[in-house]
């Protein structure tokens, strides 16, 4: 399994910290002046004078959970939608499914986030929901674009002729055909979701603006970048490792699955 080695290496550290971190974090010490290095804080202090290392230990879980939840949700909604649109023969039905999303796309997402922020005051769960839903139109468009071609292949005709169920056609045949595209898109969305969470946090949606959360840390410790880079660099690296690792693992998995199936 050599081809998995690289991706695994990248993802190992972040995952370990995310999972085990909270267990070893321990009690918070007294606050110091914000953005200072040294003084018993080996990664310095953050924007409210807390120990960065402790925040790093605590900050993995929410990132991983919210981002994954949001991405999964986005796909749970967008994939069936896009497939339905791609597999339906009737043009109007396709329009009915997809056009409303375009309107959503055209609405400045800033407005949506602000509104949810003020109107609903959601917790992390609600946030994942918001971020996930926000991604639906984009995901749907990308998946649909790939799926229409796959849905027009003779195989699908044959499956229909033999009374195959919609689900099998959609997920076993079409989705399988476009799995690389889906994986590539999902992989990048994951990261996108992460930082939407951070921005939203600052607007008061979801996690607290001073929450221990890698994405939030990167966002909020920015002002101290020159006094105390670790507060930004370390979480950023962890997130990068996490996302890059995930994507490379996807690649590796598909590499094996792939290969030239059609020979002649």
């Amino acid at each position: 399994m050599r081809k998995y080695a690289f991706g695994t290496a990248l993802i190992a550290v972040p995952l370990l910290i995310a999972l085990a971190g909270p267990l070893v974090a321990g009690e918070p010490g007294p606050r110091a002046v914000s953005f200072t290095a040294g003084g018993g804080h080996w990664l310095g202090t953050d924007f409210t004078g807390r120990d960065v290392w402790r925040q790093v230990l605590l900050g993995g879980r929410s990132v991983v959970l919210v981002a994954i939840a949001a991405t999964v949700l986005a796909y749970a909604l967008a994939l069936p939608l896009a497939l339905a649109a791609a597999l339906t023969g009737r043009a109007w039905w396709e329009e009915v499914l997809l056009r409303p999303l375009d309107v959503l796309i055209a609405v400045p997402s800033l407005l949506l986030v602000l509104l949810v922020a003020t109107a609903l005051e959601p917790g992390p769960g609600g946030l994942a929901l918001l971020v996930g839903v926000a991604a639906v139109p984009d995901v749907a468009r990308v998946v649909h674009a790939a799926a229409v071609e796959a849905a027009a292949r003779p195989v699908v005709e044959a499956l229909r002729l033999h009374g195959e169920s919609w689900w099998r056609i959609a997920f076993d045949q079409v989705t399988r055909t476009i799995r690389r595209t889906v994986a590539a898109d999902a992989g990048t969305r994951l990261v996108g979701a992460l930082y939407l969470v951070a921005t939203a946090a600052f607007l008061g949606v979801g996690v607290q603006p001073d929450a221990a959360d890698w994405a939030v840390m990167v966002d909020r410790n920015r002002p101290g970048l020159f006094l105390q880079p670790w507060a930004v660099v370390v979480p950023a690296l962890l997130v990068a490792g996490l996302s890059t690792g995930t994507n490379l693992l996807f690649d590796a998995a598909l590499h094996r699955a792939g290969g030239k199936e059609v020979r002649r």
Binding site: D102, A106, R141, V142, H144, A145, E149
Partner: protein
């Protein structure tokens, strides 16, 4: 009889008009749903209730929402976008001022994005899982994982402050010193390059493995040509969609980059207008964004259709 394409295009244009109309309505509802109104934001940190009431009266915000929207729509029909509640300047001016820098930034970014992203995607796809593929994927994903803001601050620190090669911000105007565009454009490129390249790569790997590509190679067509003219078209549809979304994002205001580099584009206008609950301006932007989005989506779908011609016979 009309070709299916023309029929499709006509239908989509009609729908598009509907969508463009729908956007301001939705936006209006959202802005109304936001707490507070222009009067409150004008009052700022001196929220004397009497004063707020007076402002509200002066701005004629005390009328029912439906009435205000009707007025606005009525003006729009006569090609009038109305005036800002806060400053009284015509909304058209706001849009015009914001549009220039935004379009400039967006076009430069796109002009670079397409070749770079497609190029990288194709390079990565040459040998799936090969060192080049790994390198490109890791690099692009790594950059993608750094949020715009951190990236911008970092690049500015190095290239503008430490090395002094480039101006760090656009204060004093973009036209005067085109070099200010470099950093913003790089920051704007960072993420789309990754997402588009990844899609191109994915599609191309499939396509290059498909029998028709193998066959073309076997017939002696140069690999490069097979990749570009035979495989790529089959790989492009999703990337095209992603590209459209990117263009949309670029044209509808890139808030972070604008703030970071002091480029007073549409993003800034939107941000301020929403913060000030300056409904006419927000509405004006909504119309503009509606048009942009619909047109871009239409273009992307057109490309997708052309690249999957067999869909015409799907039963």
């Amino acid at each position: 009889m009309t070709t299916p394409l023309r029929g499709w295009a006509r239908r989509r244009l009609l729908l598009g008009a509907g969508q463009i109309a729908a956007v301001p309505v939705l936006v209006f509802v959202l802005t109304e749903a936001l707490p507070g109104d222009a009067a409150v934001t004008i009052a700022g940190d001196d929220p004397d209730p009497a004063r707020i009431a007076a402002i509200r009266a002066a701005l004629r915000l005390d009328r029912p929402a439906v009435e205000r929207f009707a007025d606005w729509a009525g003006e729009l029909v006569h090609g009038e976008l109305g005036r800002s509640l806060v400053s009284g300047r015509p909304v058209a001016d706001y849009l015009a001022d914001g549009l220039a820098p935004t379009v400039l930034l967006a076009s430069v970014t796109l002009v670079l994005l397409v070749p770079v992203a497609v190029g990288l995607g194709m390079l990565a796809a040459r040998r799936e899982g090969g060192p080049l593929d790994r390198a490109i994927s890791t690099a692009t994903l790594g950059v993608y994982a750094v949020p715009e803001f951190a990236l911008g601050v970092l690049l500015t620190a190095v290239f503008a402050i430490r090395l002094g090669w480039l101006p760090p911000t656009a204060v004093g105007g973009v036209r005067e010193q085109p070099a200010v565009l470099v950093l913003p454009v790089v920051v704007l490129l960072a993420r789309p390059v990754c997402s588009v390249a990844r899609l191109v790569r994915a599609g191309l790997i499939e396509a290059m493995a498909a029998p028709y590509a193998v066959h073309a190679l076997r017939c002696g067509v140069p690999p490069a040509r097979v990749r570009w003219t035979h495989a790529l078209p089959n790989a492009l549809a999703p990337a095209a969609q992603q590209l459209a979304r990117t263009a949309d994002w670029l044209l509808c205001g890139v808030i972070v980059a604008e703030a970071l580099f002091v480029i007073p584009g549409l993003g800034t206008v939107l941000l301020d207008a929403v913060a000030a609950r300056d409904v006419p301006v927000v509405q004006g932007l909504a119309v503009l964004f509606g048009v942009v989005t619909v047109v871009l989506n239409l273009a992307a779908d057109l490309v997708a259709r052309r690249l999957a011609p067999r869909t015409e016979v799907v039963v």
